[in-house]
Amino acid sequence: MEQHKWEFIKKSLFRASSGLRPVAAAGLGLVLGLLITAALGESPLNILKILWEGAFGSWYSVGMTLAYGTPLLFSGLAVAIGMKAGLFNIGAEGQLTMGMVTATLVALRLEGAPPLLAQALIVAAALAGGAVWGLIPALFKITRGSHEVLTAIMLNFVAAGISSWVVLDLVRSTTTQNPESQPIDQHFLLKPFEAFEGAPVSAALVLGLLLCVLVWWVLKKTVLGYQVRAVGLGGGKAPSVAGISVPRMQCLAMAVAGGVAGLVAVGELLGTAGRFRLGFSPGYGFIGIPVALVAGSHPLGLVLTALLFGALQKGTLDLELETTTVTRDLALVIQALMIIAIASEAGWSPLVRFLRQKFLKAKDREADHGGH
């Protein structure tokens, strides 16, 4: 009986630790990043303090953290959905850009329309723009066998080109010199929540959270989600032997992922800016990669990591103001280190497994002794 109990504890420990591994890797990334700041002559503790204050110091800071986290929610989800289907979606940046392009064009056409209808149409446009851009790499992969990463990278640049053409040549703002589009109808804008002292936290955050739950539900509870996961996890032929169409699932997942990435436009266009500002994204699509990786592609875990990365984004902005040597780019460094630490997990996990086995064996021996 005692033995049985211990088995159970061991098993749950094992399960928990495998889920925690990416988190540990992320911690490693953070520590390495702080070491770099130490090399630059800053006290890591001080850096941590500023990061914390910057991200959570006041309601406004919390609001800004949430505002920075909102697009990461969408882009992280876009990467995670790709991963669930076994594809590496490096194209979220292009997808969100195209979502923004279509959403802006539609919004500008709808000048004066009833706000609710207009908002619905704008969201649909953002979805559609992103979905098309997500679908293309999947189609390339299925029909031509080209790797989705290669085509998606190129599509990122094509999207950037198209967006600057649209914004600068088609709908350029007539009132300012900034590289941005004409503003959309003021009535379409989502109101920021008042609790956050003016920080631009809008319904887009709620949409993002709902979407995470929805994606989690679809993946976990529905037949469709089951099939997508089977395709993503099935390295061999098992899914196709079982009659699941692998190409169809991959297309579907990438289209949905693209659409979700496109929804970044909702927060930006309807929430924050009310127009298409070129360069609005500091690489949300790319930051989505560590967001998804650290969460282990779990749609609910993603909520936490997206907000964490939002905090990192906001906190490093304050670092730039409050220290003389560190810039916001530190966030990028930390994210990069996290990606690398998680990617190379296979390299250091044998070590971890070895240590864990030693640990467990020692415990086992103790348990045996206890039994006698």
């Binding site: 490096i90 390339f140 031509r144 080209s146 190129m154 640049f157 790319f286 530190l330 460094v333 190379s344």
Partner: protein, 306 residues
């Protein structure tokens, strides 16, 4: 074309050709690095990052040496920068190699991480060292490199083609990218071959970056590679994994870039965005139409779990 001032004049075309070469130089260097590592079966997605650290460290070292004439008398500051840039690219490549070859990490994820690392680390260090501007001070006009990187970039494809055609190493690299197991059963080490290819690839990409900050301009500035590493990646595909093919693709891309600058000075209006898209659009189109055999090395992207 008549609208472009001076078109038809021999001097104009010579000028244009030279600027194409100058624009294509960093691309060619990086693309050759890409060809080498992809031929060995490793996707070097970190080309962009390697170029960036190459550009930054090249400028950094050139500037520091310029401040210390005693050091500079041994080798011109620009040349110190050139080698520093190459080595910096190599260091990044070493990390890529260690993680993907020894630790069996996924090549693409690791490459993405390394790119972000370079994009974050360079500005952080530049800011830490040079303060608010975030860029290195300009080199003296006379200390800059001019035609030398271009010469390297033009001769490397030939050397690399010869390497693949005639040398033992070239043969091994090709086998490492097609089927590493064959190397093993022939008594060679696939890991060593891949390490070699990846390291050289980093060296070339680092030089590509150095040519940006030492020859095309006089200093490092933030995000100065501007996606050139990815254009190089496209050139590798468009050039069908052949050094000379990649060179041709880079010249094509360089020409569009040079053209863009010419056109801006004239009355003809072509949206710059369209020209910006061109390299990627062409590559995607060629992929979509499947012109010729677009066969990547068969073991490309696969780890060495033997």
């Amino acid at each position: 074309m008549g609208a472009i001032e001076g078109a038809g004049d021999a001097g104009f075309w010579l000028d244009f050709a030279l600027s194409v070469l100058r624009m294509a130089t960093p691309l060619m260097l990086a693309a050759l690095g890409g060809v080498l590592s992809e031929k060995a079966g490793v996707v070097n997605l970190a080309l962009e990052g390697q170029m960036l650290v190459g550009a930054f460290l090249a400028a950094l070292f050139a500037h520091q040496v310029q401040l210390l004439p005693a050091l500079g008398s041994f080798m011109g500051p620009a040349w110190v920068g050139w080698w520093a840039g190459g080595l910096a690219g190599m260091v990044l490549a070493l990390i890529l190699g260690f993680l993907t070859i020894t630790c069996h990490a996924q090549q693409i994820v690791t490459g993405t991480g390394l790119n972000m690392l370079a994009m974050g680390l360079c500005p952080v260090l530049a800011f830490g060292i040079y303060g608010a501007s975030g860029s290195t001070p300009s080199l003296d006009m006379g200390a800059r490199l001019t035609w030398e990187p271009t010469l390297v970039a033009l001769s490397l494809p030939l050397l690399l083609a010869a390497f693949f055609r005639w040398t033992k190493g070239g043969l091994w690299v090709k086998v490492a990218g097609e089927n590493p197991l064959v190397l093993l059963s022939s008594g060679l080490s696939p890991a060593k071959v891949r390490y070699g290819a990846v390291l050289l690839s980093g060296l070339f990409a680092g030089w590509g970056g150095a040519s940006l900050s030492l020859a095309l301009s006089s200093s490092y500035s933030r995000d100065m590679t501007a996606g050139r590493g990815f254009i190089a990646l496209a050139a590798v595909v468009l050039g069908r994994w052949h050094p000379l093919g990649a060179m041709a693709a880079c010249l094509l891309f360089g020409a569009t870039e040079a053209m863009q600058m010419r056109l801006q000075a004239t009355a003809i209006f072509v949206p710059p965005a369209l020209i910006q898209i061109f390299p990627y659009g062409v590559t995607l189109l060629v992929l979509a139409l499947g012109v010729g055999r677009m066969k990547p090395p068969r073991a490309l992207g696969q780890g060495l779990r033997l």
